[in-house]
């Protein structure tokens, strides 16, 4: 997404939507929307009727009939326009993405090590290419050698370059992004047409859009209502004939179109598309509308502690040596073990050692660095015959006893004290000897507590996931106000937690980035993968957050809820509207033969023709009037379902009952003033 925000009402989008609205009149497209299809069929039938009357030069009501036909076609066009408007911004965005996919030349590495130049689309999965500073990465892939800073603004809109390096969780690169410095070897992981950029273009264009389960259910309901009203109108004619007041086809079709829920029928798909589009505006790409909907129903939210609840970087603030160890000695060992550790924690240890004891960074010749893994839960260095490890207390305790060392009782005491205070203890050891602990402080993000309160109001349970020990986790959980926590979490634990919640009937949302997270992301109902994450994570999730901001999950849920609510309130509004239309049309139909029915004409509409016409015009205009609401979504405030429902019911239910009485009366006044009937 280029960051230039494309406004919904931009001229080129509106112009394109107008053309699309006519293209969508194709019955094969319309049939997907049963309600509007009925309106289209009705309009077509009346058009034929109008032509017949024209040719037969039937005198009376040509002007009236012409206006009815005109407004019925407008009704269909307005609904199409709503859908086209919703798609419009996505289409415009797809265009700008296409520009990013310019024909890129790639340098492919042959098996014998020589380099050949090929066109980007010729690359296949498994090819290895070399990309140097200033060049575009030709396809999605994984860095297998080297480290480079990459400008991903074409995809994320984020202008600050990101680091991509071989191995670890930051190895995925996206086609169409540009290497700014250094040179990397990339193994291509996608075939032409299947790259991230291709998929995104298809997604934002809505080409792959399928109806979501909720949409299908609502469509069934609307189709059911349409059938009921079709029966009600069709059976009315025999009654009318019996009463001596047979109705013209024009009035009957007008009645039918006014009764069937055209407002929601016309806006339904626009609401769905707009929901995905609103996510896109927040730089989240949803792989399916289904995921957006599921987000609105989420009951349990799994949040990583780091980055979501606390600021990403924990800072080393204190060295606590165990008995028989001096503080500088501990600091020196901790610094050695951290020199190659590029995590913020590692760096903060080096900084603290330098500040407190003047220990400078050294070149470690021939040193072997042991990286941190989720399994071993420690890292360190082998250098000069020394073997230093730092890591989670129990992992280090294990390591020490494996090497024949003893775990001093003081360790437990220190570790517990740090944990109780909400800090994270790191323990440093050299072979069989425990040296001491490092106090890492966690800083809880401002405002996160209020956020969780809101979530609780919405009935969403938050679970904090952390690799910390239970004591630390409990303190931070209490401070941040999450409902539950999972401490010392391994990837399998996450997966199990999700399965357990799902077994109890809850919908689970989570956000993740690493390869470790992939199974859990796939299992969760809403799995948001961060764009900085691995290819595996991105493929497992059903949404991708281009900003890689873990707090996004909360926004995703809000957009989902907003989508479901918008659909609900517009359905309510649409059906409540019908009451007024009856009071306009029914008296108009029969007042000439049964004058007493004028008592039902409570709006005191001018004449039968103006009454029917006003109702049809109102019915068409209300679609246009509600397009902004459908695209923007109803305003969402975190509150319990009951309160929310009562509020929306009052506004859109009662409002839907009253608004058309006023609207139809006003239109009637205008019609009379303009002398249209």
């Amino acid at each position: 997404m280029s960051k230039e925000k494309i406004s919904t009402w931009e001229a080129r989008i509106v112009r394109r939507a107008l053309i699309e609205a006519f293209k969508k009149l194709n019955p094969r497209v319309m049939i997907k929307n049963p309600v509007m299809f009925v309106v289209e069929v009705g309009s077509a039938v009346l058009t034929v009727g109008l032509l017949r009357d024209l040719l037969a030069a039937a005198p009376v009501h040509l002007a009236f009939e012409f206006q009815i036909v005109l407004w019925l076609w407008f009704t269909v066009l307005f609904a199409n326009f709503a859908e086209a408007m919703a798609e419009g911004r996505g289409k415009a965005q797809a265009d700008s993405l296409r520009r990013a996919r310019t024909s890129i030349r790639a340098r492919r590495l042959r098996e014998d090590g020589s380099i050949e130049e090929v066109a980007g689309p010729q690359l296949r999965r498994g090819d290895v290419v070399i990309v140097s500073a200033g060049e575009f990465i030709p396809a999605d892939g994984e860095v297998i050698e080297g480290i480079a800073s990459v400008d991903e603004s074409a995809i994320t809109g984020e202008s600050a370059p990101v680091i991509r390096e071989a191995g670890g969780d930051r190895s995925a690169v996206t086609g169409g992004t540009r290497v700014l410095s250094d040179q990397i070897k990339v193994r291509v992981t996608s075939d032409p047409g299947g790259t991230f950029l291709d998929r995104m273009i298809a997604l934002v264009e809505g080409a792959e859009r399928q109806k979501t389960p909720n949409e299908i259910a609502l469509n069934t309901l609307l189709a059911g209502l349409t059938i009921i009203f079709l029966l009600a109108v069709a059976t009315l004619q025999p009654f009318a004939i019996y009463s001596g007041a047979p109705q013209s086809l024009f009035v009957l079709v007008s009645l039918l179109v006014c009764l069937i829920p055209t407002t929601i029928g016309g806006l339904l798909s626009a609401i769905g598309i707009a929901g995905m589009d609103r996510l896109l505006q927040r730089n989240v790409v949803a792989m399916s509308g289904r995921a957006v909907e599921a987000a609105g129903d989420v009951d349990t939210m799994l949040l990583d502690k780091t980055g979501t609840i606390t600021l990403g970087n924990r800072q080393a603030t204190e060295f606590i040596p165990f008995d028989g160890v001096s503080e500088p000695e501990l600091a020196e060992a901790a610094q050695l073990a951290s020199l190659a550790d590029e995590t913020p924690e590692g760096r903060s240890i080096v900084v603290l050692a330098k500040e407190r004891y003047g220990l400078r960074g050294r070149e470690l010749k021939g040193a072997a660095f042991i990286p941190f893994t989720a399994q071993t839960r420690m890292s360190g260095v082998d250098w000069n015959g020394r073997e230093i490890r730092k890591g989670a207390p129990d992992a280090i305790a294990d390591y020490v006893s494996r090497n024949g060392g003893e775990v001093p009782p003081k360790m437990r005491e220190v570790v517990e004290r740090i944990a109780r205070e909400g800090g994270t203890p790191l323990v440093v050891a050299e072979r069989g000897r425990l040296l001491g602990a490092i106090y890492l402080k966690d800083i809880i993000k401002a405002g996160i507590r209020e956020r969780f309160n809101q979530l609780r109001q919405m009935g969403i349970k938050t679970v904090m996931i952390t690799g910390d020990n239970p004591l630390t986790a409990a303190t931070i959980a209490r401070e941040a106000g999450v409902d539950d926590f999972l401490a010392e979490a391994k990837p399998e634990d996450k997966l199990q937690l999700i399965r357990r919640e799902q077994a109890e009937g809850r919908l689970v949302a989570m956000i993740g980035d690493g390869t470790n997270d992939a199974p859990a992301l796939a299992q969760a109902d809403v799995g948001v993968a961060m764009n900085t994450g691995t290819q595996a994570a991105k493929e497992a999730g059903n949404m991708i957050d281009l900003d890689s901001n873990p707090t996004k999950l909360i926004e995703v849920v809000e957009v989902g809820k907003q989508l479901l609510m918008t659909r609900g309130v517009l359905t309510t509004f649409s059906i409540a509207n019908d009451v007024a239309k009856y009071f306009a049309i029914i008296p108009a139909m029969f007042v000439s033969t049964l004058p007493v029915l004028d008592a039902l004409n409570i709006m005191r509409l001018h004449s039968p023709e103006s009454a029917v016409l006003s109702a049809v015009i109102f019915n068409a205009l209300i679609i246009i009037a509600l397009i902004p609401l459908a695209l923007r979504g109803v305003r969402y405030r975190p509150m319990p379902a009951t309160a929310m429902l009562r509020r929306n019911f009052l506004i859109y239910g009662i409002g839907g009952l009253i608004a058309p009485f006023i609207g139809i009366k006003l239109i009637d006044l205008v019609i009379v003033a303009l002398n249209l009937t």
Binding site: G224, A232, D299, G505, F590, L597, A599, R646
Partner: protein, 76 residues
């Protein structure tokens, strides 16, 4: 008459079957309790409005017009 009475059972049963297959969800603040006045008001108004919408055209030609005519002094 037979159609009107029994045909409607088919879709109703289909909905029931669909609901029965759904997993039950533990209640939370996010669920909508069915034991409150809000729910009652909601249910009653939905039944009334949808029912009225279906039968209003025919009613207006039958009982309503008769009622109005009766006040106008004409009975059948």
């Amino acid at each position: 008459m037979l159609l009107g009475r029994f045909f409607m059972i088919v879709p109703a049963l289909a909905i029931a079957g669909n609901l029965a297959r759904k997993k039950s969800v533990p209640p939370s603040l996010g669920t909508f309790p069915v034991t409150t006045p809000t729910f009652v008001a909601l249910l009653v108004s939905v039944i009334l409005i949808v029912g009225a919408l279906t039968f209003f055209p025919v009613l207006s030609l039958g009982p309503i017009v008769e009622h109005l005519l009766m006040y106008a002094g004409q009975t059948f």
